[in-house]
């Protein structure tokens, strides 16, 4: 066998190019906004709010991008898990009312975590059922997928009406998580900081799983070429069901956080963010978790800054961002190499 020095003389190492450009867009956008916003403290508040929103969108969207990447499944019903996740947290909140109003911060955090746990369990199970009943019969048929998943979404929304009633339900943040942390004259709402931390933790965990475990490698390989993963002896369907369940649970988590953020529950909340989620996964590059993360932050930053600077533009700002990014990179920020 040849030694390392010998081989390096005969074979040149290919250049590895890590693509940081999309990541750089985040600080660039933040810096550009600073002079436009004018006041530093307002800018901090807006930016923290945007980061929190970005994390929640990322949580809601991450499963969807993998679901599409692995099996080419267009699930327009993903918002179901967001609404359901938010509503079932009421189940946990009922018996924990004492924890919510307690002045003990740990009990407050415990109440939030209990909501998250219940929501993820329920939406994970719901995801399993949804995959079996709604998705499985329409593998490989995009038009039917769109129709039936949207139908599933409408049915689910009506079920929420039936179970929890049609009017919005106010949701109170646990006592210790209300209010803001003030540094100098910049105020950051505590809950937003918590959302950012939770989002980062989940992103970090996903990153580890996708890069350091065999299951994660299989998911990434499956997004690139599901046929070859099967030819290596792995059942891609099983992998897909697993991803679908986890993706649904994450959407449920996102739904809980989103509901506490708005401090209201409405049956239509999943449907409302559905469009935003699709914009994010298209911006990120279908199938790319990293792209989804950056895409979610960008969308949220743009939405928050324009919401402050030009409120009339706020609605269209994400679509505008998508158009600009697709003009630059037609496959999204991080295109996934496809078969």
């Amino acid at each position: 066998m040849s030694t390392a020095t010998e081989t390096s003389a005969t074979v040149t190492l290919p250049k590895v190019r890590i693509d940081y450009l999309p990541v750089l867009l985040v600080p660039i956008l933040m810096l550009l906004a600073l002079p436009l916003v004018g006041s530093f403290s307002t800018w901090v508040t807006l930016t923290v709010a945007a980061l929190a929103m970005g994390m929640m969108i990322f949580l809601m969207a991450s499963g969807l991008t993998l679901v599409f990447g692995l099996m080419d499944v267009l699930n327009f019903g993903h918002g179901v898990f967001i609404s359901f996740g938010a509503y079932v947290s009421l189940i946990a909140l009922g018996p924990l009312a004492g924890w919510v109003e307690s002045t003990n911060l740990w009990l407050n955090v415990g109440a939030l975590l209990a909501c998250i746990l219940v929501a993820m369990l329920v939406t994970g199970a719901l995801g399993y059922a949804f995959e079996r009943v709604v998705i499985r019969p329409v593998y490989g048929q995009h038009l039917k997928q769109i129709l039936i998943t949207m139908g599933g979404m409408i049915v689910a929304e009506q079920m929420i009406h039936v179970i929890w009633g049609a009017s919005p339900i106010p949701l109170r943040l646990p006592e210790g998580l209300r209010g803001a942390i003030v540094i100098g004259d910049a105020a950051m709402e505590k809950y937003r900081v918590i959302a950012v931390v939770l989002g980062l933790l989940v992103f970090g965990a996903m990153h580890l799983v996708l890069n350091r475990t065999k299951i994660g490698l299989l998911i990434r390989a499956g997004v690139e070429n599901p046929e070859m993963v099967e030819a290596l002896g792995y059942k891609i369907r099983r992998l897909f069901v697993g991803v679908f369940i986890v993706g649904s649970a994450l959407a449920g988590l996102g739904g809980v956080l989103w509901a506490f953020y708005r401090q209201t529950l409405t049956a239509g909340m999943g449907m409302e963010v559905n469009v935003l989620i699709f914009i994010v996964i298209i911006i990120g590059g279908l199938g790319s978790v990293g792209g989804c993360f950056i895409g979610a932050i960008l969308v949220a930053l743009v939405a928050n800054y324009t919401g402050f600077l030009a409120p009339k533009l706020a609605l269209g700002s994400s679509i505008l961002l998508m158009v600009v990014i697709l003009l630059w990179r037609p496959q999204g920020l991080y295109p996934v190499a496809k078969r």
């Binding site: 590895v16 065999k214 490698l217 690139e224 046929e227 030819a231």
Partner: protein, 241 residues
């Protein structure tokens, strides 16, 4: 037990509305290298994909080691002991060389001794061990695709045109590697357009045309019979020499 590891009998394959294979009969003897030759579009790739279950045979039967695998799903066929190197290599570009091989080793960790043997066959893989497979050259990707098929011992290797588009020096490296593989007693079904490489490697040969096997015999026989080559393979083979 028959001395044929794989048997195809009257296999028909439809792709959508197209009838591609029209009754393929093929027997792959154990422990030997069978070349599958034929013009472009003859149905070689379709035959391999049908064996792997990536297309479903609409008629006929495929038996592997005495077991009917015609209707098995692809992962089960792979687990029965067949490894596949597709025409387009299908390496996972986003994953490193190491990660590509980890996935191919489905029985557990990479075996260091076997890895060393593979590095001996394809030194470039050791060199680029932690690089994303997408940055490899065409030849190196092909080496990775083959390494993936042999990272654990498998009973049968299906390899589709491994020398396509490669420089002559790399083709000779491949031929060397296949010789080494043969010497381990592996059973191989190799699709090859390069007749020179085919001559050097093949024990047996099957020639396909228009979705059927039109000739079966010893490779040496075909190699010596220029008229038969001309008849079966046409001029296209000479162009590859």
């Amino acid at each position: 037990m028959s001395d044929n590891l794989l048997n195809l009998q009257g296999v028909h394959t439809h792709i959508g509305q197209y009838h591609i294979l029209h009754g393929v009969d093929l027997a792959i003897p154990r422990g030997q290298l069978t070349m599958l030759l034929g013009r472009n579009g003859a149905g070689k790739t379709t035959t391999l994909r049908t064996i792997m279950g990536l297309w479903q045979a609409s008629q006929g039967s495929i038996t592997f080691d005495g077991r009917d695998i015609t209707k098995l799903p692809t992962p089960d066929i792979a687990q029965a002991g067949i490894a596949y190197v597709p025409e387009n290599m299908a390496i996972f570009a986003d994953l490193t060389v190491r990660e590509n091989l980890i996935l191919a080793a489905r029985n557990g960790d990479l075996d260091p001794a076997r890895l060393k043997w593979i590095f001996g066959l394809f030194p470039a893989l050791e060199k680029f061990w932690s690089l994303a497979a997408g940055v490899l050259s065409g030849g190196q990707k092909q080496m990775l695709a083959i390494a993936r098929a042999i990272v654990e011992p498998r009973d049968l290797l299906l390899i589709d045109e491994p020398t396509k588009g490669l420089a002559p020096a790399i083709i000779m490296n491949m031929v060397q590697a296949f010789k080494e593989l043969k010497s381990t007693g592996a059973t191989i079904l190799l699709v090859e357009q390069n007749f020179l490489a085919a001559k050097l490697l093949g024990d047996h040969v099957a020639v396909m045309d228009d979705g059927r096997v039109v000739h079966r015999g010893a490779m040496a026989e075909l190699a010596e019979d220029a008229a038969l080559q001309q008849k079966l393979l046409g001029l296209s083979m000479d162009a590859h020499q």
